[in-house]
């Protein structure tokens, strides 16, 4: 618990530092904003989006992964307009957790959430999101937030918040001042009301694909084409591309794509040795990247990379994503019994950190860390 506290405090202090720097550098940030264009065309108004903060290093807008310890490793968070690729662990035990943390963080901050899956119904995934750990002051901020956003619904929100007063204080000190990133309680579900109040879109492949059997003359797998068109539609209809700035409050679109490239997506890239449409996945990633770079959205993808022995595919996929994090669980491996790792459940590898608007990237000193799943918390050490 002590380790969590220090870790959390660390994240909190950097958060407040970033906020302070952001404040003092407001002029430079404003000056840079319009020039960045594309993804950052919002300029100073971006500061007002809940759950985001500008990067200290390159002025990019960052969002949290839903795991403050991971944010810290990735240089403060995920830049808006980038892809986070999670390499799934062998039995897919821990990667769904990171996936859900990411989505839950979006729900808490009032971001629009887009869930795409070929395996589970997105509605079910959303039901299973973990509940955030809030303390008193953070809870009030959350209340204020929601109050500002939607006045009629504030009553029900107050009720949810009341419930958390009974929770013991998990974090102390400066953490409460930072609204960037929350820890989540993996044993509890997110309150139903929050999900109902949030805006989300689901893309469930079996539903989308069954109606149209005719294949379009494209070079992509039909499932990928459908998903790209679905994402593009939402980005344009809801103004995440910043095309009509005066329309409404800007918001972030969080996209989560589960087990991309698995056979369920109709892609045989991980099944066969030499498949014909091995470029489907990489093309999809490229166009998705184009979509993200021109809009206020951020994407998390989990991918069962352990299914293939073909390192070429992995290398290409890695080159096409921005941040790459690999998970390796100890289940079934000889390390499970290794006394060195007895306190941990697996290893987390930071494989790639993007270089955005910069020659160098925020690299942390260690790249391979161990994680453990406590009863409630996912911690990285």
């Amino acid at each position: 618990m002590a380790a969590e506290a220090t870790c959390g405090a660390g994240a909190g202090s950097t958060g407040s530092l970033a906020a302070a720097v952001g404040m003092s550098n407001v002029t430079s940030f404003q000056r840079r904003g319009p020039r960045v264009g594309g993804a950052d065309s919002g300029g100073p108004r971006l500061m007002s989006i809940a759950g985001t903060r500008p990067s200290v290093r390159n002025g990019q807008l960052l969002v949290s992964t839903g795991l403050p310890a991971l944010d810290q490793l990735l240089g403060g968070g995920l830049a808006v307009g980038t892809v986070l690729l999670i390499e799934e662990d062998k039995y897919n035990t821990y990667s769904p957790l990171l996936f859900k943390y990411f989505l839950a963080e979006g729900i808490i901050n009032g971001h629009t959430v887009l869930v795409a899956s070929a395996k589970e119904d997105p509605a079910v995934i959303l039901q299973e999101l973990p509940a955030p750990l809030l303390d008193d002051s953070r809870k009030q901020e959350l209340d204020e937030d929601i109050y500002n956003h939607k006045t009629p619904e504030s009553n029900s929100k107050m009720k949810i918040a009341w419930r958390y007063q009974l929770l013991p204080k998990m974090e102390a000190g400066p953490v409460s001042s930072s609204r960037f990133g929350h820890y989540y309680d993996a044993s509890k579900r997110i309150p139903q009301e929050l999900i109902e109040a949030s805006k989300w879109h689901g893309f469930f492949l079996p539903e989308k694909i069954s109606s149209t059997l005719k294949e379009e003359p494209g070079s992509l797998t039909p499932g990928y084409i459908k998903l790209l068109q679905f994402i593009q539609n939402i980005i344009y209809e809801e103004g995440f591309d910043g095309s009509n700035p005066q329309k409404k409050q800007k918001n972030i679109l969080r996209i989560g794509i589960q087990s991309l490239g698995s056979p369920l997506w109709g892609d045989d890239i991980f099944c066969t040795e030499n498949c014909d449409n091995s470029h489907s996945l990489t093309k999809f990633l490229y166009i998705l990247r184009g979509l993200l770079r021109t809009s206020l959205s951020v994407c998390i993808i989990t991918m069962p990379t352990h299914l293939t022995q073909n390192k070429a595919v992995i290398a290409r996929v890695t080159n096409l994503s921005d941040t790459v994090v690999g998970l390796e669980s100890f289940i079934g491996s000889e390390r499970e019994t290794n006394p060195l790792y007895k306190d941990y459940h697996g290893l987390i590898h930071i494989r790639q950190i993007p270089r955005l608007n910069n020659l160098i990237c925020d690299e942390s000193d260690v790249k391979d860390l161990a994680f453990k799943l406590k009863r409630k918390l996912f911690t990285i050490e």
């Binding site: 594309g38 990489t282 290398a315 290409r316 270089r355 690299e363």
Partner: protein, 266 residues
């Protein structure tokens, strides 16, 4: 533009060579700093530059360019820089049905492999114009990066053909330069990429190869750069010089030093 790298390569914006193909190659590290170097180098040298930027957005290159002292926006307005933003155009190609041929037309094709529109784009961009406009020195084609074309479904042979055409046109006909980045997957797993890399290594006049340190991550040394000149006319003593340097990337500059001579160690 990194002055130290210019010294190592014995070039400067005032006397840029002509008719050369430079291959940038990175293994287990990110060699994009070399692309930024050559982009700012040729813009400083007053060359007409055609930049096929497939990997990042314009704003990324622009902001890094500003750190290195060139403005891509200004260069583009003056007509010095022709910028193909791959990410943006790929969306146009993919989501809107175009009738007219687009440089990235191959994205829509089932059996991609036709890079002719892209070559036409390069040729059109770098074609010498009448004397009315301000005369730029030599034309330069810069590609970031060629490996990405493989990921987009183009075959290695098609990419090699494309480079060959570009070399014939830009280097020989227009007396200009070609600079291209290729990733090296390293362990020989990606056969197509290896074909591309070997083919290009064979053609190029200068190879700059960056590698991650074999000993792993280090705070003060980010990798090593191998410089290989392929000029048979030089005396052997000069040709066989071992040119391996280690480098450290800083915010606006890259410092190079001999192997094991990092300031942090000494």
């Amino acid at each position: 533009m990194f002055p130290e790298l210019n010294n190592l390569l014995n070039i400067s914006p005032d006397r840029a060579e002509q008719g050369k193909l430079t291959l940038l190659c990175d293994a287990k590290t990110d060699g994009s700093f070399l692309v930024h170097h050559f982009l700012s180098f040729y813009l400083r040298a007053n060359c007409k530059v055609c930049f096929l930027a497939l990997v990042q957005s314009f704003s990324h290159y622009n902001i890094v360019g500003q750190k290195l002292g060139v403005s891509l926006t200004v260069a583009r307005e003056r007509g010095q820089l022709v910028f193909l933003e791959g990410l943006k155009s790929s969306m146009d190609v993919f989501f809107q049905a175009h009738k007219e041929p687009h440089p990235l037309q191959f994205l829509r094709e089932v059996n991609a492999g036709n890079l002719q529109p892209l070559f036409e784009f390069v040729r059109e961009a770098l074609k010498p114009v009448d004397n009315r406009e301000p005369a730029w020195r030599c034309p330069v084609l810069l590609v970031d990066d060629l490996s990405l074309l493989l990921s987009l479904g183009v075959g290695a042979v098609a990419v090699l053909d494309f480079v060959h055409y570009c070399r014939a046109t830009v280097c020989c006909e227009f007396k200009g330069n070609v600079v291209a980045l290729v990733h090296d997957s390293g362990d020989g797993e990606d056969e197509e990429n290896d074909i591309l890399l070997n083919g290009l290594s064979h053609q190029s006049h200068l190879i700059l190869r960056t590698e991650g340190l074999s000993t792993g991550f280090c705070r003060d040394v980010h990798g090593q750069l191998k410089i290989l000149w392929r000029r048979p006319s030089q005396p052997t003593a000069q040709r066989d010089r071992s040119l391996i340097y280690q480098y450290k990337i800083q915010d606006k500059n890259v410092s190079f030093f001999a192997k094991g001579m990092s300031p942090a160690v000494l």
